[in-house]
């Protein structure tokens, strides 16, 4: 299967996105902000459809919108990012707007499906380069804020007392989440971002108690699920996103069962 160009770039793109999603997702789960991540993906949908309507690249619209929304959420403070109702409303408003944009955009059907459920085989070389640059920048950013972020996630009050700038850390983190969401949306679509961002991270936390190990495991699981899904899709001709969600679900529920069984 690797003799095909499109398969090689699909493996590369999904690999990059999965490692980023697994790493960022761990902190998302640690902070209890998974719903915020989910909402960001829907905002991304608005951005992507808006970009299509105005003849721009959907990836640019996706990244731009999620970034602005992520930083905005961070600036409003920890409180807003935890408010389910506000986030839920933003989420449906964003999807509604996206629908409106698609309504005006005539070649809607295939693009809509690709945005909602992903199209890993459609990643071209220029998009590939963008994905790589964004992923490297995000991982570097995450490494730079990693220690205060961990501290602030586990014990926000103590971190504040010790002089950690909570608002800065929170905004910077959500900006990184926004990029990770946009990358994932390219692979599995905005509706299924959870599968790579949250599934592997939550499974990793059920498998180990050690912080460093859990982060590494989360990234490794996300990578294995993405590549496994791609391989299964190649041999069955079923959608890649289906296989990735299936693998992610099996791993998550398996890890949860293992923890509660013993």
């Amino acid at each position: 299967m690797l003799e095909y160009d499109f398969m090689r770039s699909a493996f590369a793109a999904s690999g990059v996105a999965a490692v980023l999603a697994g790493t960022v997702g761990f902190f998302l789960v640690l902070r209890g902000q998974t719903f915020a991540g989910h909402a960001l993906s829907h905002v991304g949908f608005t951005g992507a459809t808006g970009a299509l309507l105005f003849g721009l690249s959907p990836l640019a619209g996706l990244v731009g919108f999620t970034l602005v929304a992520g930083i905005g959420m961070g600036l409003f403070g920890e409180k807003l990012a935890e408010r389910d109702v506000a986030i839920g409303m933003m989420l449906s408003l964003a999807l509604g707007l996206g629908l409106l944009f698609l309504h005006f955009y005539t070649a809607a059907a295939t693009q809509a499906a690709a945005l909602l459920f992903g199209n890993v085989l459609g990643v071209d070389s220029s998009a590939m380069l963008t994905l790589c640059i964004l992923a490297v920048a995000s991982l570097a950013g995450l490494a730079a804020i990693g220690r205060p972020l961990t501290f602030a996630s586990i014990q926000p009050e103590l971190a504040e007392a010790r002089g950690v700038p909570l608002r800065f850390v929170s905004s910077a983190f959500l900006a990184i989440v926004a990029v990770a969401v946009a990358e994932c949306a390219q692979i599995v679509g905005v509706l299924l971002v959870f599968t790579l961002m949250v599934g592997p991270a939550a499974a990793a936390m059920n498998l180990t108690r050690r912080l460093g190990l859990a982060i590494a495991l989360s990234a490794a699981l996300a990578l294995a699920e993405a590549w496994g899904g791609l391989t299964l899709a190649y041999y069955t001709d079923w959608p890649t996103s289906f296989w990735i969600t299936a693998l992610s679900g099996i791993v998550f529920f398996g890890a949860a069962a293992r923890r509660f069984a013993g």
């Binding site: 961990t150 501290f151 586990i154 007392a161 950690v164 050690r210 912080l211």
Partner: protein, 273 residues
């Protein structure tokens, strides 16, 4: 030299004066129990000493220096209201997250930092507990692990906010004993806030009582008396002493016990009061 001093300090939250021209000073290496009704300002007082709450008037000094945020001379243990119960990470990793939590940039814990964490855990006898997941520890065990975190950086003043909250009597006793031992071994001053005086009465050097915006510090037998507490509570208070135990009564209601019960239904409102 004083470890912590308040000089005519007024702190205003919203429209309410939590403290109004309150003054007290505690000595270095002193173990002070802080008491007072809900909303009397116990948590606020600590947050003000940490530089997290602005002072409307007066001056706070920590080890004879003005307040600054992120002061490394203060070790702080915030009130733990069960937020860690669902966390799967080991106690060691949770403690370690504070060790380097202030620094941005790459790199991991070096040998010296790891030794420091092990030392702090040994001080509270929690080295073995810290290998387990923090969420799976009992309340008392978890408090011990978190207490070790406050010792990192060898502070000279410890602010412990309600370490006894929702602990059973046996665990209350062990936490108080550990705090007393830390105070003596490390020559560190401790402010230990609590709902009830009795678990602390034999361990503390002096008591700091807050009420009606004022603060009174002194030996237990001088502060926990009818006249002093009546002034702080702004109501007729009678103190009944039975052997080493104190019962603070307003009419026929026991004040501290009542405050404790009251607290469980109003937890979130008073979290920062």
């Amino acid at each position: 030299m004083s470890a912590l001093s308040f000089d005519a300090v007024t702190i205003r939250l919203g429209r309410r004066d939590i403290l109004s021209a309150a003054s007290f000073a505690m000595r270095e290496g002193e173990f002070v129990g802080m008491l007072g009704a809900n909303g009397a300002g116990k948590t606020t007082l600590m947050r003000a000493a940490l530089g997290l709450v602005p002072v409307a008037a007066g001056a706070i000094r920590v080890l004879e220096r003005p307040v600054k945020r992120g002061n490394p001379a203060i070790g702080y243990m915030p009130q733990n209201r069960g937020a860690m119960a669902g966390l799967r990470l080991t106690g060691w990793d949770v403690v370690a997250s504070a060790a380097l939590g202030r620094r941005f940039g790459f790199g991991s814990l070096d040998k010296a930092a790891r030794r420091e964490i092990d030392w702090a855990l040994d001080e509270v006898g929690a080295r073995d507990l810290a290998r387990q997941s923090i969420g799976e520890l009992s309340g008392g065990e978890r408090q011990r692990v978190l207490l070790s975190q406050a010792l990192l950086g060898r502070p000279r003043l410890l602010l412990l906010d309600e370490p006894l909250i929702s602990l059973d009597p046996a665990h209350q006793k062990s936490v108080v004993e550990i705090a007393r031992r830390i105070c003596e071994d490390l020559k560190v001053a401790i402010v230990f806030s609590a709902h009830e005086l009795n678990p602390l009465v034999n361990a503390i050097d002096r008591v700091l009582y807050l009420g009606g915006g004022a603060a009174v510090i002194g030996p237990v037998e001088e502060v926990v008396t009818g006249p002093v507490l009546s002034r702080l509570y702004g109501a007729e208070i009678e103190v009944v002493r039975v052997r080493e135990r104190y019962f603070v009564m307003a009419g026929d209601v026991e004040v501290e016990r009542e405050a404790h019960r009251h607290d469980h239904s109003h937890d979130h409102h008073d979290a920062h009061a």
